[in-house]
Each structure stands twice: as structure tokens, then as C-alpha cells.
Amino acid sequence: MTNFDLEKLLGAAGADPGCDAAGELMDAYCEAIANGGPVAPQFDEFVRHMRNCTACREDTEGLLAILQQQKESDER
């Protein structure tokens, strides 16, 4: 069993705000990433939740993809 397997099973160590609280931060996090800015420390626990929760990670990837499409559309 690798460290990757163990993290998938047990999650990353440290505080995890859970799906509801992470969902509250998702839009601001995605805009920060889409704008290419640094990710503020306020998102540390959000990022940990993304490592631990597949559903929230997929949703965040979805929102990032939408912002990317909007950005490309605005640039055209």
C-alpha cells in the first residue's frame, strides 16, 4: 500500500472544513486560480478538503473549467 493509497483511504492530516464550508469558498478560490493570482492562506483548509473529497474536487474542477471557457470567450 503506497502513501497515495493511504491518503486516499485516510485523507490528508490536518483540519478539513467539510463539504458545506468548502462549498462556500469554492467560487472565490476558483476566481483566484483563474485570475492567476497567489492562493491566499485562507484557502489552506479548502485545498485540504479538495484532497480528501472527490465530489468537491470534481465540482471545483468543473467551475474552473467554466471560468476558463469564459476567459477564452472574453479574449476572443
Binding site: 500500500m1 463539504c19 462549498g23 465530489a55 473549467a65
Partner: protein, 207 residues
């Protein structure tokens, strides 16, 4: 946050959605169109993982997701604080509604039953002999901790979500609860297992 602190476009959305009937209805139509586009884009992005879902079902699903997302946005309008643009905030609801439905639809004909063969797959067969023994001991300790330290419900959720990779939206639907509640149960179970493995001397192995 007052609307004055928002970007111009977000302020305009809030004004329109709080305006009189005609302007409000027009804004709701625009918002619904945006949410439907987002739902369809998300369904297209996830097509590879939902190939078993028929195209017409996906279109229905996107329509329902956009409608529910619209209801959620309107119901939560007072909670919008402007941490992101209004459209980003609103799109989040469309993504959530669409992805939850797609996961549930993809699993609709599948049972959520513990798969005992997972324990054989977890023990890595590639490392050299000493590592192989450590792996097997760690897997045994984890197996034992699951049996001895988790409640029946935690065991079911942990085995389904972490071992068998059943999406937590699917578990939430089948247990009649929310994604957040299932995740909380998974999180608590992981905490108990982590502590049990540390107590059993495997602290150095944990991520």
C-alpha cells in the same frame, strides 16, 4: 457587503433580480439561460465518466439541474457576499446540481455493497519481501481498526466511499441524507482509523 463594494456586473445582477416584476423576470430568464449553459458544459466535460447515461437523459438532467440551481440562487440571494463575481457564485450551484445528478445517474443500476476482495488489492505485490510484509501488516491493522473502532454506519460509509469509491452523492441519496453529512461520517471514521493505526505503531506510515 453592500452592492457598492461589488463589481459593476455583479451589482447590476443584484439590482435586476431585486427589481420590479418585468425587470426581475427578464433577469431570471437570463440567469436560467446562463445556468443551463453551465449545466450542459459540465455534462459535456464529464461525458467520459457518464458514457452509460443516454444523451436525452443528460439533456433532461441538465434542464432539471439548471432549474434547481436557479431556485437555489434565488433562495440564497441574500447570502451572496461578493467574495467572487455574482455569475461565478451562481454557476457554482449549476455545477453542484449537475454533477450530483450525473454521479447518481451513473450509479443508478449499481449496488452499493462492500467488496471483500479490496483487501487483496490493497496489499501491494510489487515491493521487495520486507516491504511486502510491512504492507500486509498495515493492511491487516487497517482491516482490524475498521472492525473494532468504527460504528456500523461509519464502517458502511468508509468501506463504500474510501474503499469502493462510491461517490458520496450516491451514498447520500441512498441513505436519505446530504453530501455534507456523509462526508462528516467519512471524516470521523478516517480520524478514528488514523488514531487506531498510530496507537498500533503505524504512525510513521501515515500521510
Amino acid at each position: 457587503m453592500s452592492t457598492a463594494a461589488l463589481d459593476l456586473e455583479s451589482s447590476q445582477w443584484l439590482r435586476d433580480l431585486n427589481a420590479n416584476d418585468a425587470e426581475r423576470n427578464e433577469a431570471i430568464e437570463r440567469l436560467h439561460a446562463l445556468l443551463l449553459r453551465v449545466a450542459r458544459a459540465e455534462a459535456a466535460r464529464r461525458r467520459a465518466s457518464t458514457s452509460q447515461v443516454r444523451t436525452e437523459e443528460i439533456d433532461d438532467l441538465c434542464t432539471q439541474a439548471a432549474s434547481d440551481a436557479l431556485m437555489a440562487v434565488l433562495a440564497k440571494l441574500d447570502t451572496y457576499r461578493g467574495a467572487a463575481r455574482f455569475t461565478t457564485w451562481a454557476c457554482k450551484f449549476a455545477i453542484f446540481e449537475t454533477s450530483s445528478r450525473l454521479r447518481r445517474q451513473a450509479w443508478r443500476d449499481r449496488n452499493v455493497e462492500p467488496d471483500e476482495s479490496i483487501w487483496n488489492r490493497l496489499a501491494d505485490t510489487k515491493p521487495h519481501a520486507l516491504r511486502q510484509i510491512e504492507n500486509e501488516q498495515l493492511v491487516s491493522a487497517l482491516h482490524r481498526a475498521i472492525d473494532e473502532h468504527l460504528t456500523e454506519r461509519q464502517r458502511l460509509v468508509f468501506r463504500s466511499a474510501a474503499l469502493d469509491e462510491v461517490p458520496i452523492d450516491v451514498l447520500a441519496e441512498r441513505h436519505g441524507t446530504s453530501r455534507g453529512a456523509i462526508y462528516k461520517m467519512l471524516h470521523d471514521a478516517r480520524g478514528k482509523l488514523r488514531r487506531a493505526l498510530i496507537d498500533a505503531g503505524y504512525g510513521d506510515h501515515l500521510p
